[in-house]
Amino acid sequence: MELTGAQILLECLKREGVDVIFGYPGGAVIDIYDELPRHPLKHILVRHEQGAIHAADGYARASGKTGCCLVTSGPGATNTVTGIATAYMDSIPVVIITGQVPTPLIGNDAFQEVDIVGITRPCTKHNYLVKDVASLALTIRRAFYLARSGRPGPVLVDLPKDVMQARTAFVWPDDEAIRMRSYNPSAKPNKRQLQKVAELIRAAKRPVFYVGGGVVSANASADLCWLARRLHIPVTATLMGLGGFPADDPLWLGMLGMHGTYAANRAIQDSDLIIAAGARFDDRVTGKIAEFAPKATLVHIDIDPTSIQKNVAVHVPMVADVGQALSDLRALVEQQDAGFDFVAAHEPWVKTTLEWELEHPIKYVPAKRGEAVKPQYVVEKIYELTKGEAIIATEVGQNQMWTAQFYGFQSPRTFLSSGGLGTMGYGFPAAIGAQMAFPDKLVIDIAGDGSIQMNIQELATAVCYDLPVKIVILNNGYLGMVRQWQELFYKKNYCATCMEAQPDFVKLAEAYGAAGFRVTRSRDVEKVLKEAFAVPKPVIVDVRVSPDENVYPMVPAGKSLGEMLLV
């Protein structure tokens, strides 16, 4: 049977298991939209294409499936670029379908034409322009295969309007057909390297697990927990790794890096064996690279060979899927170390890290009577009320760091945040995507008053589709993180960081058909949050917080992890 390009596309999406697509129509994709009502696919009409790509990303992070979005050519396509770069930096599987002008017009500067394949080449894992309807099905299959395999990432497929209208026989390409001689991600860990790791662990006195987003992405959390407990090794994580190890476990050190805990950073600097799993020694983690982990033997497990030996020279490199590597390591330990007393071997070290934690816990100075609400207190209360079981999205800046520090993430895929790119405006649409994946879960976006205004228009989307996302704005009237840097490193020259002429967020919520609450006193925080979380529709809680609160601890940019500014 012959199908049109649009029909083939939608049939392929269905067979790839896509159940929801975030999109925005336009001239170049009308043929696809014309076909859409005849397919089981649920379409979420966003209010800006950036919202669509972030929502698809949030859906992917929360569910572990591949997210999908659909936008038109030209501005529709360029509006997704920030979100594509966001997903690329954090290795999130997303397939972006963009419309394109008809093939005879390509290159003619036609209306709403842009070379989106050229524009997104450096921020996608791969991208395609489909010029012939005969190759459409194979291209869509390969796009999904590339997005989710190896190191996951965004893949863009550009579809000219005439290709969507052309007809051809539909053939579903089998698994053999999608294989490529030029793409063979290796997943299996090298046995000899694994054996070396096991030996290093037995010999180590001060070992640390340093885990990143790869542990979440590879669903390796259970094996990590087993290994950490059996081997009695403390665990620290990057921002992207939060949730990969339960924060209430005694072996949890907290996040490391620029705003990491004293215990985590101290542990890294004193450790004699660091097992880095699914992390990439990012500059926000290592601080001054020459002084990072000076005493440690470094083991680095990552699926992407380019991550290894990029920022630091490691002693035991291992290119492998982190899930596979940790489960193989677990099997190895079970088999050959049954009689080894790891607790005895590592207990003095674990005790030392606990002492550091007691010495300098993550803390803040609580508000005195009459003082403004402390933002950290709000995050603590959200944690208490949700028992760490909500899905939490954040924007970027102080709100993000306070969430990372004061919300104890218990399980993977419950923390959605733009780690690598640091995209303000990410959190709210990502929360919408997560809510689509988990309609019955409590999904909260912890925001700042700056970043929430970057994609506030998606309130209409949330209201329209009954997605009861809760936005808690830690409203300090500033672009707080930049303000903090100005205070500490730029002689308090607060240029362009005061957000004057702020909207009334409560009225704004109401104008969109959502609910709005305002909190100005510490003693009302818990009560209002409780009330807000019980409202069965989207909610903004505007919490007026102390305007000059800073995020501590802090390792100033370019300094070593040993040089932390504490509270």
Partner: protein, 163 residues
């Protein structure tokens, strides 16, 4: 670590955009390209790129890995680690007034070059060789006044016998 010249042989799928993926990788990550040559291979679906670049060991390792990571890349070989033959062809248009013509032709002869175009004032010389030879030819012709050049960039193949 010391910087060294490396010749990379890269087999890629012969598809639109593949050159800009490779070129973009170098510019986006701040790697150097001294020369880049692309051409067909015996397999119609595959192109070969010969890239000459400069960097220390760690940079070259990153370049090789990043090239391999591109979805369209089939194979990357650092020919500097092997015995290889490398050649570049250059066309050199040089001033050649009557009084100096004989001297130029002698140099052409010594380097086994060819004269491919002649006019009353100029000669165009075709020269082929490895980096060292090309450099030597340029230095010999410099004093006559080189007016224009065109270079292919290095192409290279691994030698059949490696020992």
């Amino acid at each position: 670590m010391s910087e060294k010249r490396h010749v990379l042989s890269v087999l890629v799928e012969n598809e639109p955009g593949v050159l800009s993926r490779v070129a973009g990788l170098f510019s986006g990550r701040g790697f150097n390209i001294e020369s880049l040559n692309v051409g067909p291979t015996l397999d119609k679906g595959v192109s070969i790129m010969t890239i000459t670049t400069v960097g220390d060991e760690q940079i070259i390792e990153q370049i090789v890995k990043q090239l391999r990571k591109l979805v369209m890349t089939i194979k990357v070989v650092d020919l500097t680690e092997h015995k290889a033959v490398e050649r570049e062809m250059v066309l050199i248009k040089v001033n050649a007034e009557d009084s100096r013509r004989a001297e130029i032709l002698r140099i052409v002869d010594i380097f086994r070059c060819k004269v491919v175009d002649v006019s009353p004032e100029e000669l165009t010389i075709e020269a082929t060789g490895d980096v060292g030879k090309i450099k030597a030819i340029f230095s010999m012709l410099q004093r006559f006044g080189i007016k224009e050049i065109a270079r292919t960039g290095t192409v290279a193949l691994k030698r059949s016998l490696q020992d």
